[in-house]
């Protein structure tokens, strides 16, 4: 049998000798922030995420001052020092036929920590550089998707009728459109025509904006549906009727009444979307239609690692681990944010 206990906030119960005073009210956002701060798991997630971001952006520092290797230039004939001995970065295979050229495996030292790839580049340093691209694209496209989807979802759910129909069908169109074809043809166009020029904006094939925008747009329908569903539900609630009775305009209804109540849905979805977009970027880069050289991303490194999977699995494993850690941290943070924003958090259900 369930029972519930009411736990008042400590500050709200009077201690001995205290008198009740008028207390300035605290905004729900400040309360939420404080709850979030106290959530250790969420804070751990935030710290981990910030750590990954920091480390990725310090990639040049690692490459130049710690590892003393090059993550960007091919180094096929280079040598490096392991345990005091100078070895070739890419070594000829053994056996009676002497076939094959293998990059060195993990040295577990500062240089070539997890080994080299087929071009003799330091994979550990490269993973850090790749993090910059993947994070930028993942976060950027998730934000684009959520922003656009929220707007469209609000409009569709609020106005219903023909507007809703039209927007929902537009979403169908986008969702059904073959994304891979779009990505292939777009990258082909950009490669063969030296980029697009719109006034001052120049986008060439290696710009990170291309995958960001493509991925952002294709996930709009994915976020729009649950948002629209929430808007439809919230629309029927009493406080909306109350606001209408007060004579609120449509704008006010949408932005002051409905939006705050569905925003938590979007905020909960945001970290999940970043996870999805990072993975989509990996998939597109794996098919060579995402991030283009000279940029690297975790996806392109996994692609490089496919060709080395049987002999040097770390080249594919390392970026995968980075993806897992990033997504994990974002989700822990996201859970904390959701818990913090829940206006009913004062009431705790206990079994």
């Amino acid at each position: 049998m369930a029972e519930f206990a009411y736990e008042p906030e400590p500050e709200l119960s009077l201690g001995p000798g205290e008198r009740a005073e008028a207390v300035a009210g605290q905004s729900p956002w400040r309360l939420a922030a404080r709850r979030l701060w106290r959530n250790r798991v969420a804070m751990a997630g935030l710290v981990l995420f910030l750590l990954i971001v920091l480390v990725s952006f310090l990639a040049p520092v690692y490459a130049n001052h710690i590892a003393h290797t090059d993550a960007l230039q091919p180094n096929v004939n280079g040598t490096t020092v392991v345990n005091g001995k100078t070895v070739e970065v890419i070594q000829q295979g053994g056996g009676p036929l002497g076939l094959g050229e293998n990059p060195i495996g993990p040295t577990w030292q500062t240089n070539y920590f997890i080994g080299a790839d087929q071009n003799g580049r330091d994979v550990a340093a490269r993973v850090l550089y790749g993090g910059r691209s993947s994070l930028l694209i993942g976060i950027g496209s998730a934000l684009i998707a959520c922003l656009i989807a929220t707007i469209i979802g609000l409009i569709a759910g609020f106005f219903r009728g023909l507007t809703d129909s039209a927007l929902s069908r537009l979403m169908d169109l986008i969702w059904a459109f073959p994304v891979y074809l779009l990505a292939i043809t777009l990258s082909t166009v950009l490669l063969t025509t030296n980029g697009l020029q719109w006034g001052p904006i120049h986008l060439d094939a290696s710009s990170l904006w291309i995958p960001t925008i493509i991925i952002g747009v294709i996930y709009v329908p994915y976020v729009m549906r649950p948002v629209r569903g929430q808007v439809l539900s919230v629309r029927e609630k009493e406080f909306v009727d109350a606001a209408i009775a007060q004579g609120a305009s449509n704008w006010r209804l949408v932005f002051s009444e409905i939006l705050p109540n569905i925003i938590t849905a979007v905020i909960v979805l945001l970290p999940l979307m970043i996870a999805t977009t990072i993975l989509t970027e990996a998939a597109l880069s794996y098919l060579s239609i995402g991030v283009q050289p000279p940029n690297a991303s975790w996806g392109t490194i996994i692609q490089d690692g496919q060709a080395l999977l049987y002999t040097r699995p770390w080249v594919a494993i390392a970026p995968g681990i980075m993806i897992v850690l990033t997504v994990l941290s974002l989700n822990l943070l996201g859970d904390g944010v959701r818990d913090a924003l829940d206006p009913r958090a004062k009431v705790r259900l206990r079994k």
Binding site: I90, G93, G95, G98, E101, N119, P293, L309
Partner: protein, 569 residues
């Protein structure tokens, strides 16, 4: 990936033993076959399971398809009037009579060839071979309109130009004169063509039953070979089964096959193919194995690996008409700076490729080792890059700071080569960027001068052992078509003095091959000095077979002879 889709190998009538020195790369290795007794030996029975990543691209019609993959199968199901001897080793370039009783010497100034057909040869559909089939086959070559070389190789047959203009009503009865009673076929050419016999020995000219429809077919029709096509589904597999009507008439031309059934299944990635062959689930893989498996293959499966040399070259073509490579010093600088060892390493190591500085491959008519772009030149072999000289030339050229697009395709290895060159060009002072296009797009793209390709990857595998096949096709004026995506002269090089020398060598070839070879060697040197390319290396061919496969033979013409291997017992 073997890029050669064009495999008409026309053995030069002088038939130089091209691969005599080439057989068996490196001592002690289990590489190619020795030239054995011609086929037919070996235990019969069983199914040869082969795998390939994809079906041979293009139509399966034998008169249209131009891929090695399908040609390796067509030689087992069909025959021409003459054939390349079906053995491994240098003898594989010799022509022997196949459906004809003997190879005639041409008469009438080289314009007439009279063949007598063998009697009693049956197609797999039961019909008997007669001269009408030969006439119908050649008329069909024009009627189907899509045969890639109808307009070039077979256009010399009398009546062919009318056929090219109006294919539907093609009538070659004046050019291919048949006599049913005497069982003979006489070819009349409009002018002498020393390569005509070789053109008869490739699948375009394999004889089909006269009942074959005049439109493109979805599976090769009945043939005279030891096998017949049972299934052709490009999304799943090809299946060849024994032709019950086949009897051996010449073991040199068309020996009996050993396996009862030959299957080729599609779809596996090259990594999965290697695993399948190692596990015994497949007997041979068509595609070259990925480089990361090479060490494993050469240590644990040594006896199953076969390496054979190829007369082929990989190169980057520099566009000599637009900056920066319209400047000779800039071109030479790149040649001095390139580290061929690094390129070879990316390809799989020195056992799989040999560095080269020139156009013609080793063991080719007209080949004389020549390499000026190395430290301590003079031996003809490349030893090491000369960066100092390269930088000096760059400074003199005034091309520093120019932006260059390095155009290659998205295949892992090619991309890696491309990235190497981007790094190299940047080191020399250019501003280089990589452009990796999908393989289907890249080749036509770099041929089209409209796209202004500055530095493009390409490769060339011989069609037939003649220097003209490399030099004239890849660097001759006749191969440069501006604004067309069918212009094999990617460098867009056309200099009158060089072209005159090429034409002269072609003429000399008719009378003296040796003199012509000397002239070709000179032209090769001129082209190298002009640095029209950055030649990379000459690749080798690697076959990986399963443990139970015996009797491996490598023909210089058809590569691994599938039906001469055994899987039984």
């Amino acid at each position: 990936m073997i890029k050669a889709s064009r495999f008409a190998i026309l053995g030069s009538v002088a038939a130089l033993a091209l691969l005599a020195a080439g057989c068996g790369g490196g001592g002690g290795s289990s590489s190619s076959s020795t030239s054995s007794t011609s086929g037919g030996g070996g235990k019969k029975g069983g199914t040869l399971n082969t795998v390939a990543n994809a079906a041979p691209s293009g139509s399966p019609d034998p008169q249209i398809n131009y891929t090695l993959q399908e040609w390796q199968l067509l030689i087992m199901t069909h025959d021409g009037l003459v054939a390349f001897k079906r053995v491994g080793g240098p003898d594989g370039f010799k022509l022997v009579p196949d459906l004809a009783t003997s190879i005639p010497a041409p008469t009438d100034g080289g314009k007439t060839y009279k063949f007598t057909l063998r009697k009693g040869i049956k197609f797999s559909d039961g019909s008997t071979l007669d001269p009408q089939d030969v006439l119908s086959t050649f008329e069909r070559l024009f009627k189907i309109k899509q045969s890639p070389n109808a307009g070039t190789w077979y256009a010399g047959i009398v009546g062919a130009d009318a056929c090219l203009k109006k294919p539907e009503t093609c009538d070659l009865s004046k050019g291919v004169v048949i006599d049913k009673a005497a069982n003979t076929v006489t070819f009349h050419l409009s002018k002498a063509d020393p390569e005509f016999l070789d053109q008869l020995a490739v699948p375009f000219a394999f004889i089909l039953p006269s009942s074959t429809p005049d439109k493109e077919v979805q599976i090769p029709p009945a043939g005279t070979g030891p096998y017949k096509w049972a299934t052709y589904n490009p999304n799943s597999q090809i299946k060849l089964v024994r032709n019950p009507n086949f009897k051996v008439w010449s073991a040199d031309a068309q020996p009996a096959g050993n396996p009862d059934v030959i299957v080729q299944k599609f779809g596996l990635s090259t990594e999965a193919e290697v695993t399948a062959v190692e596990n015994g689930q497949a007997d041979w893989m068509f595609d070259p194995p990925p480089s990361d498996r090479l060490t494993e293959m050469s240590t644990k499966y040594t006896s199953q690996v076969h390496i054979n040399p190829l007369t082929a070259v990989w190169y980057y073509a520099m566009n000599v008409r637009i900056p920066p490579f319209n400047n000779l010093k800039a071109r030479q600088a790149v040649n001095y700076a390139v580290d061929h060892d690094a390129l070879v390493k990316i390809y799989g190591g020195p056992k799989l490729a040999t560095p080269t500085c020139q156009i013609l491959p080793p063991n080719f008519p007209g080949y004389e080792p020549y390499c000026p772009y190395t430290k301590n030149p003079g031996s003809g072999k490349w030893t090491a890059p000369d960066m100092a000289k390269a930088q000096q030339l760059m400074n003199e050229s005034g091309q520093k700071g120019q932006s260059v697009d390095v155009i290659t395709d998205t295949i892992e290895q090619d991309k890696a080569h491309g990235e190497y060159f981007v790094g190299l060009l940047n080191k020399l002072g250019f501003k280089a960027k990589l452009k990796a296009l999908s393989p289907d797009l890249q080749y036509p793209y770099v041929q089209n001068s409209k796209n202004k390709p500055q530095f493009s990857w390409s490769s060339w595998y011989q069609d037939y052992p003649a220097a003209s096949d490399f030099i004239n096709i890849l660097l001759g004026c006749g191969s440069y078509h501006p604004n067309s995506n069918a212009s094999p002269n990617i460098s867009e090089y056309c200099v009158k003095s060089t072209q005159d020398k090429i034409d002269q060598a072609l003429n000399t070839q008719v009378t003296s091959q040796t003199k012509a070879n000397q002239q070709w060697a000179q032209i090769d040197k001129i082209l190298v000095n002009q640095a029209v390319w950055v030649p990379m290396f000459n690749p080798k061919y690697l076959d990986f077979v399963s443990k139970r496969v015996t009797g491996y033979q490598f023909s210089p013409q058809w590569y691994f002879l599938l039906d001469q291997a055994s899987v039984a017992g």
